[in-house]
Symmetry: C2
Subunit: 457 residues, 2 copies
């Protein structure tokens, strides 16, 4: 890679930030249906941006859900082909959730850009678009073949993407897949993630009386669906923090001494995490560290619960039902369907008298692991080392990108998780932001990586 | 009472129904703050109606909360004074909750009038207004002195009324208080309620991390406030349906054999109740019948629970907190404050690690009991017998009108619960209605009662 690329990146810096702000201004929330127009707008914006970057065959492809943006540049015969995946959809965000500024009006402050989607995933995704533009402008060509596949349903577990991959397997064929959609281990320390937890997402509905009942006239005489639901939910965990569902841990292998040692070497300050979260104590499965609990052990989290009158004031009525949503993170060989089977059995077996319970399956994604010794991962490590001045460490992520496992399974090639976010950038929370220093270092890493890959074939 | 009253009631029937519909059309919901204008409108409507009925000193009196409508007619020197209490506020209602017609657009069908507030309490309250009008028009005078005190905060546990009663004790002084705000035991069988359960209403908040956390990156490593809340709520009841809070049953005396026998004589078909509610089974404290559980035993009902993302779709985030509202029904000598103390202690003692819990007291009302042998109750029994052609039975209500106990305590006189609703009129639920036959029989009962009371002094 010649110095012209670095010069180009620095010369175009202000435009890059403005363009990222323009993309962040589009509230492309995929949860719910209120933001359909913005989803389309974000897809069109990206297609336009990819064309300007010099990519070819740019297309916004309709699916049964949100559209997928495809583009390629295939003028490096005999060289490897890289498929870059990213997502333009974002989590919901309301100013009232604790944002200091409007979540969809980006603000640059103290070297960060604040907006929903800044780090997850618009800021990280745009790095690769800018990188190919810089290489094409500064060097006239890309060192390898590059494809983009950018979806709009990652935050709702990518229902359309697996079918899309199978349908377009030839067009999407590549030697390696690159995804930048997570945090580095720490500021200044690049990292490559070698494992992701899987996800099983479901809704549980408890049904009771046919209509709301006055709690005075019926209270004590019928099963209250909220009581039944809380009883069921409380039964899902044992006192030691383990999941108390029979069969839940099938496919989970305990950490080896070597794996525990690797995790122990990673920076993780439990006291600092506790201070930042302002909780009286951290909590989790007995016998494991915070890092083990959140990256290498499976979990079952109740992420929402709703029952009874939701307005202000006390409406003393027993509701007809109560609902909850559960998100499990899976590891090893855990199978999302088998986990949901186990939970469904548990709920039916523990259902209190006087109500019925039903489980509705929403999302499933398997866990994923890749070896740090793979040549394409070693190439990424070298690119990071050059751009950041520091060798990356290898990490496990507690999060789920179910699509990583799908890419690996459907296209049969390794996935390199090349992350440029930071752990404190509040993805999914208020005041989400992205460290602009990593926008620049990310572009340089991405450019170097494409050059380094060209040596592999 | 002469025949002219009955003739007058029958001649004015259509107007009475139209007037009730006009009152029901005003959505005077007291829960929340959205319906302030309608609260004022309902109070003004009633004041106007009382003036037209011939009542004097009619006044809409401001309080710190919703206004109270006062009126009197005091031209029966030497005769008893009756204070009629009612409430013009109603429970929330949305067409989407399962209403067949708009809850605030009354419809007459099959002898019932359907609308929110039809039986609770506008339909029952208006009976007394129509009765004094009929007596004044047909006989030129009332047989006793009559006062009205109609509030607009009953559905939010009457926060302003106790202070109002103490402040205006002289003006409100009476020999007996009459309240029509509940159901008769069955269609065609009048009943007089001799006991009400008390109420303790509270909100419980569990607080966890300072911000919403991605369930992948933090799941398994921090206490989830929803888990903590469901654990706490599940701990409130034992397997036998009893409340598992130490001290909760203080002041509760078990039913005597005689009391159980009295309850056994009342009509109560548990199979029919189960069929109507469409539940797989009834459920409650072991060793008690449905009627005992819902009228003579105390209960703790969780009436709402809220935590996590409430929109459609799965947002896999651990929320900062979770909240719940609890309504306890109290009997015997249970004290609402002592009950809330006991629950607060229980919650603190059972609070899981990693979160904090807080209890906010919202409402309190003591249980109330009166003897069926009281002359003013016997007078009511005779009036019912004449109007309905059937002697009333004496019942216990599982509901709470905390203000009944307050009236009794502050004004020091008995409260007669003269009920004209029916048990299946869906108060607090969708398709609330009022049986119009009882509007007519109620007016005749109320007229006869005033005549009968005149004989007591």
């Amino acid at each position: 890679m010649n110095a012209a690329v670095e010069s180009y990146v620095r010369a175009e810096w202000e435009r890059y930030v403005e363009e990222l702000a323009a993309l962040l201004r589009i509230p492309s929330v995929s949860v719910g249906t209120e933001h359909r127009d913005s989803i389309q707008k974000a897809a069109d914006w990206l297609a336009d941006r990819l064309r300007k970057a010099g990519m070819e065959h740019v297309e916004v492809i309709e699916t049964e859900g949100n559209p997928i943006v495809y583009a390629d540049w295939l003028h490096a015969p005999g060289k490897p082909t890289v498929l870059v995946y990213g997502h333009y959809d974002v989590q919901p965000a309301e100013a009232a959730d604790g944002w200091d500024t409007d979540p969809f009006e980006p603000v640059v402050r103290d070297g960060n850009i604040y907006a929903r989607g800044a780090t997850d995933d618009k800021g990280q995704l745009i790095i690769h678009v800018n990188a190919v533009e810089a290489l094409l402008q500064a060097e006239g060509a890309l060192p390898v073949n590059v494809k983009f596949c950018i979806e709009g349903e990652e935050e709702i577990s990518s229902p359309s993407l697996p079918g899309f991959l199978e349908q377009h397997a030839d067009r999407l064929h590549a030697d390696v897949i690159v995804i930048s959609d997570g945090p580095m281990i720490a500021h200044g320390t690049p990292s490559i993630c070698t494992s992701l937890r899987g996800l099983a997402g479901m809704e549980v509905r408890v049904k009771g009386p046919a209509q709301d009942l006055h709690s005075g006239l019926y209270g004590g005489g019928v099963q209250n669906p909220i009581h039944a639901l809380t009883h069921l939910l409380a039964s899902l965990h044992a006192k030691d923090g383990k999941v108390a569902v029979e069969g839940f841990y099938n496919g989970v292998q305990d950490l080896t001494a070597e794996e525990r040692e690797q995790l122990r070497c990673l920076p993780s300050d439990e006291e600092q995490i506790q201070r930042e979260l302002k909780v009286p104590a951290l909590y989790g499965e007995e016998g494991y560290t915070f890092l083990e609990r959140t990256t290498a052990r499976p979990t079952l989290e109740v992420v929402s619960v709703t029952g009874g009158f939701q307005g202000s004031g006390l409406k003393p009525a027993i509701p007809t039902g109560a609902t909850t949503k559960i998100a499990c993170r899976l590891v090893g060989q855990q199978d999302p369907d088998a986990v949901m089977d186990a939970i469904e059995r548990h709920l039916q077996q523990h259902c209190p008298p006087g109500v019925t319970v039903e489980l509705i399956r929403q999302h499933g994604g398997r866990p994923y692991q890749v070896s740090a010794d793979h040549p394409y991962l070693r190439a990424a490590a070298e690119a990071y080392g050059a751009a950041f001045g520091k060798e990356p460490v290898y990490t496990r992520s507690g999060g789920s990108i179910p699509i990583v496992e799908v890419f690996n399974r459907v296209l049969g090639v390794p996935v390199v998780m090349m992350e440029f976010g930071l752990p404190d950038e509040n993805l999914h929370g208020p005041n989400e932001h992205f460290h602009l220093e990593n926008l620049e270092k990310g572009m340089l890493t991405a450019c170097r990586y494409l050059h380094r890959l060209a040596e592999e074939k």
